[in-house]
């Protein structure tokens, strides 16, 4: 098979899987109980594209390959094809999406086994992979946008998967609408690009970008970034992501941690040469990233729902990635996208395993006739789980160390590289990068702290659910722990794909060589000042500093939470008083939006526009109507010859007017 048909097969398979499982499941309810078949089919439709990705990766010879399926739409000067681009960037993304995706499909076979919507779940997951592949492989902004909105749709469907709870449906709506606000900006960027360049193909945009007026470039990059803040959950549009945890946990792992939420970074990396032409917007991107990172990290400290800790952690880590993009180190952002997919995917699946276990505890309590309501996601009722769920515990710990930046783990290298790039960019005379660097260091410390807190509260100490002496959970089945181990291993070793510059002069930084424009890749990067020879000392210091920060954060949380358990949160609350309340209330973003946007707009519609429509616009018409009220009594007897009246009236009028005009 040639490359074209391989690429198209990889994209079509998940769609076919979604259509088959979805439609057969919908119209033939008997099919729904074939869970092994459904799950295997769904997994294969992702695993085969992964295999194709590997094949393409092996064959790849440094030139982008473009596959054109057919024309999507064309009108006047506008044309957009279903064109797909295989290059270093899209291949890497494709491998992450289908690789992590396949693992999460396998995990879901176990996790969702007892759910009556099993068939639907796999249909949605496959549809998501299809949309995500369009997003990362599309050769023009419009196909990217198809994927962009498509993943948003799947996110909506999966957040609201358990739709009988109104809260889930609300969270789903919120996610879709907030994302649409970002998409609105994305659309405007496309309008500008088409107006000025006549095409949305990446080749045209990236080649013609330099010829655009600086103000135009600024607008385009700014609008694309606003689009990215929606999908990738940054200030001001991050508010949907924490609520999105209403979806089943594999969804949180796949969509809301590993893949979809990183698409904003992919977009910026894809547009990197254009972004670099808008230094003012880059400053903005870096600062938004930094503020989001530290804001979400402080919120994460105060959360008790294990998934919400991870959700805010994701927002925070995405902030790190935007910091990298904002200092022109796009390949580092993608590096962190990759390592984050491993460790955060593992953490979420781990939390899913924990929730699975706590559900078991809940069931046992119910069977014993206890009337306790146990929230299976609340860490305050967990504790000591490592005894019962050793595999989950170890993989969760590994990923915690990885995200915290424990030396030599994947997060250590990717996060250190971000901080180093910020430092280097500041050193090259870009003042804002210093700010980003400082915020990054503080956030890294907080990250280590809150992640270790979540580990200790969940897996160590005393069991805190009722009757823990008799009732306890069991480890999840192999279909769930298998993917955990696979991701944990990747979380350990993934960082070696991007070893820092101090080691072998950066020659071992594979990801830089693969993606970077200086080596013929598609991802451009900012130019930085030449280093003096002595700079290597600084590099070593920064690398060690990164490790020390992680160890301090991890060690402190380990000590205080092992010692005090959840009581330590009270101490924090007292010590930080006002701040802690602000954190625990998520800086009041939701309340603010509700007061500033939602309520006023709905009020306007309900109290002004609707009455205006009913009484003013319509009132005029009805006023006119009442003049003919007497006449309208005729109309009450609809079937008594009014046709003739009507026809006669028209005929009379026509004749009269004809006469007036022709003979008048």
């Amino acid at each position: 098979m040639n490359i074209d048909s391989l690429v198209l097969l990889a994209i079509a398979l998940p769609l076919m899987g979604a259509a088959f499982n979805g439609l057969v499941g919908l119209f033939a309810p008997g099919y729904r109980s074939n869970k092994t078949l459904i799950g295997t089919l769904g997994t294969l439709c992702v695993a085969i594209p992964f295999a194709i990705g590997v094949l393409l990766f092996i064959q790849f010879d440094h030139d982008a390959h473009i596959t054109r399926a057919f024309t999507w739409m064309s009108a006047g000067d506008f044309t957009a094809d279903f064109g797909y681009r295989v290059d270093q960037l899209s291949l890497l993304m494709m491998l992450i999406v289908t690789g992590v995706g396949a693992l999460i499909h396998i995990y879901s076979i176990g996790y969702m086994r007892d759910d009556p919507g099993f068939w639907k779940f796999f249909a949605y997951l496959n549809l998501f992979i299809f949309a995500m592949l369009n997003l990362v492989l599309g050769d023009n902004l419009l196909v990217l946008f198809l994927g962009w909105e498509g993943v948003g749709l799947c996110s909506y469907l999966l957040i609201g998967f358990w739709f009988t709870d109104l809260k889930n449906s609300e969270a789903a709506n919120k996610a879709f609408i907030v994302n649409r606000i970002g998409d609105f900006a994305f659309l405007l960027a496309m309008f500008i690009l088409f107006k000025d360049l006549g095409s949305l193909d990446f080749d045209v945009i990236l080649a013609g970008g330099a010829s655009l007026a600086p103000a135009t470039i600024n607008w385009v990059v700014f609008l694309l970034f606003i689009g990215a803040t929606g999908k990738s959950a940054q200030i001001p549009l991050f508010v949907w992501l924490p609520d999105a945890m209403a979806g089943p946990t594999p969804v949180s792992a796949l969509i809301h941690a590993a893949t979809m939420v990183t698409s904003g970074l992919y977009l910026l990396a894809r547009m990197s040469s254009l972004v670099l032409l808008a230094p003012g917007v880059m400053t903005f991107i870096a600062i938004i990233g930094a503020l989001t990172a530290i804001m979400a990290a402080t919120i994460a400290i105060t959360q008790n729902d294990i998934k919400r800790v991870l959700a805010y952690s994701t927002v925070s880590q995405l902030g790190f990635m935007f910091m990298a993009a904002g200092v022109g180190a796009f390949f580092v952002a993608i590096f962190h996208v990759m390592t984050h997919a491993f460790f955060k995917g593992c953490l979420f699946l781990g939390s899913g395993s924990v929730i699975h276990g706590m559900h078991e505890v809940e069931h046992q309590l119910e069977e014993e006739g206890h009337e306790v309501h146990l929230d299976p996601q609340d860490m305050r009722t967990m504790g000591g789980l490592r005894k019962y769920m050793p595999a989950t515990s170890i993989t969760y710990l590994i990923s915690t160390l990885a995200i915290a930046g424990f030396p030599l783990m994947s997060g250590f290298f990717s996060k250190d590289e971000i901080l180093f790039k910020a430092f280097e960019y500041g050193y090259s005379g870009n003042g804002y990068a210093w700010f980003v660097w400082v915020v990054g260091i503080i956030t890294a410390l907080l990250t280590a702290f809150y992640m270790m807190r979540s580990y200790v509260l969940t897996f160590r100490g005393k069991e805190r659910w009722p009757n823990a002496d008799r009732i306890h959970p069991h480890e999840s089945p192999a279909s769930m722990t298998g993917p955990l181990w696979a991701l944990a291993v990747l979380a350990i070793v993934g960082g070696f794909l991007g070893l820092p510059g101090v080691i072998a002069h950066g020659d071992l930084n594979w990801i830089h060589h693969w993606l970077g424009a200086p080596y013929g890749g598609p991802v451009a990067e900012a130019v930085v000042a030449e280093h003096e020879a002595s700079f290597i000392v600084v590099e070593w210091i920064l690398l060690i500093l990164g490790g020390v920060i992680a160890l301090v954060g991890l060690g402190y949380a380990w000590r205080v939470y092992n010692r005090d358990g959840i009581e330590f949160d009270q101490k924090l609350a007292i010590d930080f008083r006002g701040l802690y309340t602000t954190w625990a209330n998520k800086y009041y973003w939701d309340e603010g939006y509700d007061k500033a946007v939602v309520k006023p707009v709905l009020g306007l519609a309900r109290r002004v526009m609707d009455p205006f429509d009913r009484y003013i616009v319509d009132g005029l018409v009805n006023g006119l109507g009442s003049m003919v009220r007497a006449f309208s009594s005729l109309f009450k007897y609809l079937q008594t010859g009014v046709v003739q009246n009507y026809a006669v009236a028209i005929l009379f009028g026509v004749v009269l007017l004809l006469g007036l005009i022709i003979f008048g």
Partner: protein, 529 residues
């Protein structure tokens, strides 16, 4: 003429069917007669696809044209003149497609006086097809008015509680507009006759289009026509008949209203206002574009606060058709092509929404969203079609609504006439708002726990209902993923319209210095026959 008098057959076959249904006694005979008539009409209309040459524009005359001039006294050049070109071919197909779907959707819905209902529906189809096929303005007007009468009775007899009010309002509104247009037609026929037809009153589209009235004449004629069409569309603030008509109309009436009847307005703007009065159209394009954008936002916001699902969808039409009008007055091929395809798209997706709401009404006898809630659990197949149609309507890429909206917006943005970035950005907020009100409807109606016991036992769709929704769903997907074949069908014709507009405007002397004057007859197309 490759396939005989196919256009006339398409127009009048439903009328023949109406005569038959009128004579039949039993309900099932009537229904089957209506179904067969509309199905045969639809199958025949597919011949258009086979005989239609998309490379020909409008300037070279309609294809498969039929002309009978002996219809009217010789003192008037009023003809029976029908045909197809890129502007109407898809609208005709949409009309004939909706025919059998409407009959099937009314199968059990209409219990009262079925003979009258199906007869009127068939007459209505004749009127609508005639409107789209006419190349004589007077003939157009007759068909335009012909649609009014059956629709009036359909709302007034088979409608909801306030049906009389809604029906009268519908008629008065439309009648006011169309009478003004009649005045315009008569004046225009006379003036064009003097200018290009040797003094003989003419309503031939091809003759009138060669007549270029002076600026002030154009302006008031433009407003006479545009006013009438704007009511039909409906354009803000002339829209208030629509929610009432939609809410009160029986399900089939709403479908035909949203599906094709409203498109008579947007079609009229493209077919008549732009090429007849290009100067005035461009001069007042900004005004109309602003009203259109207000409609987009206003319709969406009012839609969001309706407790009645049918009213919600009705206001969504105000919002969606605002996009179409915007695209028409952008004077770029991209936007006008977007508008053409969006007319079809809106007909399909909003048609489907009304069909589904009708099915829900048939089961629960309510349109209020509060009476539902959580029904996704009891009626999964209905929910699937609803979610699918909602997504198409909300402009999800990959489904049909996106194609039209995107082309309209991208084409309007680059327009020299209305391409103000802030205006287009304001219109683009419609994309956000569409998600807001449509997802709200899903949320209120389909999701959450079942609170009303009657919803627990709601029956899911039967095969007849699935069968009539499935083709629409397939079309949403086909038009969403592979619209280029359909876009091609209208491209040459929309380009002709823009070309006519451009050449007529540039033919106006002293255009730069202010008041243009008419130049009389002009050749509109270099390759005109």
């Amino acid at each position: 003429m490759p396939i005989g008098n196919i256009i006339s057959v398409l127009i009048f076959l439903p009328l023949v069917g109406a005569l038959i249904t009128m004579l039949l006694r039993s309900e099932s005979q009537i229904k089957w007669a209506a179904l067969i008539t509309t199905s045969v009409t639809f199958v025949l209309s597919l011949g258009l696809l086979w005989g239609f040459d998309p490379s020909l524009g409008t300037g070279t005359g309609p294809q498969m044209a039929e002309v009978y001039s002996s219809w009217f006294p010789d003192a008037f050049d009023i003809k029976y003149y029908v045909g197809v070109d890129g502007l109407n071919v898809l609208l005709i197909l949409l009309t004939t497609l909706l025919g059998p779907i409407l009959v099937l959707s009314s199968w059990t819905y209409i219990k009262k006086a079925p003979r009258g209902y199906y007869t009127l529906m068939l007459i209505l189809q004749t009127g609508i097809t005639g409107v789209f096929c006419s190349y004589d303005v007077f003939l157009f007007y007759i068909f335009f008015e012909l649609t009014l009468i059956p629709m009036y009775f359909i709302i007034g007899i088979w409608g909801g509680e306030d049906r009389i009010y809604a029906a009268v309002k519908f008629v008065l509104y439309t009648l006011v507009g169309s009478l003004l247009m009649l005045v315009g037609i008569l004046y225009l026929g006379n003036a064009a006759g003097d200018a290009v037809n040797g003094g003989v009153f003419t309503t031939d589209w091809y003759k009138i289009v060669q007549y270029n009235p002076d600026a002030s004449t154009q302006t008031w004629l433009f407003f006479l026509f545009a006013f009438s069409f704007a009511i039909k569309v409906p354009l803000f603030p002339l829209h208030t008949w629509l929610p009432d008509a939609h809410v009160q109309a029986p399900s089939g009436g709403s479908v035909v209203l949203a599906g094709v009847l409203l498109k008579m307005g947007t079609y009229g703007l493209v077919r008549f206002c732009l090429p007849f009065f290009p100067y005035a159209s461009q001069k007042y394009a900004m005004l109309i574009a602003i009203l259109a954008v207000i409609g987009v936002i206003y319709g969406a916001l009012v839609s969001r606060v309706q407790p009645d699902a049918k009213k919600l969808v009705a206001y969504s039409s105000v919002s969606h058709l605002g996009f179409v009008v915007l695209g028409i007055f952008a004077f770029t091929t991209e936007a006008m092509q977007g508008a053409m395809i969006q007319m079809i798209n809106h007909g399909i997706s909003t048609g489907a929404l009304f069909l589904i709401l009708g099915m829900m009404y048939e089961r629960r006898h309510t349109r209020m969203m509060d009476d539902f809630g959580g029904i996704a659990k009891s009626v999964p197949i209905l929910t699937f079609f609803m979610v699918f149609s909602v997504l198409a309507s909300a402009g999800l890429p990959g489904l049909n609504g996106f194609v039209g909206e995107f082309l309209i917006l991208v084409g309007s943005f680059k327009s020299d006439v209305i391409g103000n970035p802030f205006l287009i950005a304001a219109a683009t907020t419609g994309v956000i708002l569409a998600a807001v009100y449509l997802l709200w409807m899903l949320h209120k109606t389909f999701f959450g726990p079942i609170t009303n016991e009657a919803n627990r036992t709601m029956v899911d769709l039967n095969w007849r209902e699935i069968g009539l929704l499935a083709p629409l769903a397939v079309l949403m997907l086909v038009l969403g993923l592979a619209p280029s074949k359909f876009l091609q069908m209208s491209e040459a014709s929309t380009e002709s319209i823009i070309q006519i507009v451009d050449s007529k405007i540039s033919a106006m002397t002293e255009f730069e210095s202010g008041e243009p004057v008419a130049v009389g007859a002009l050749s509109i197309d270099s390759d005109q026959q």
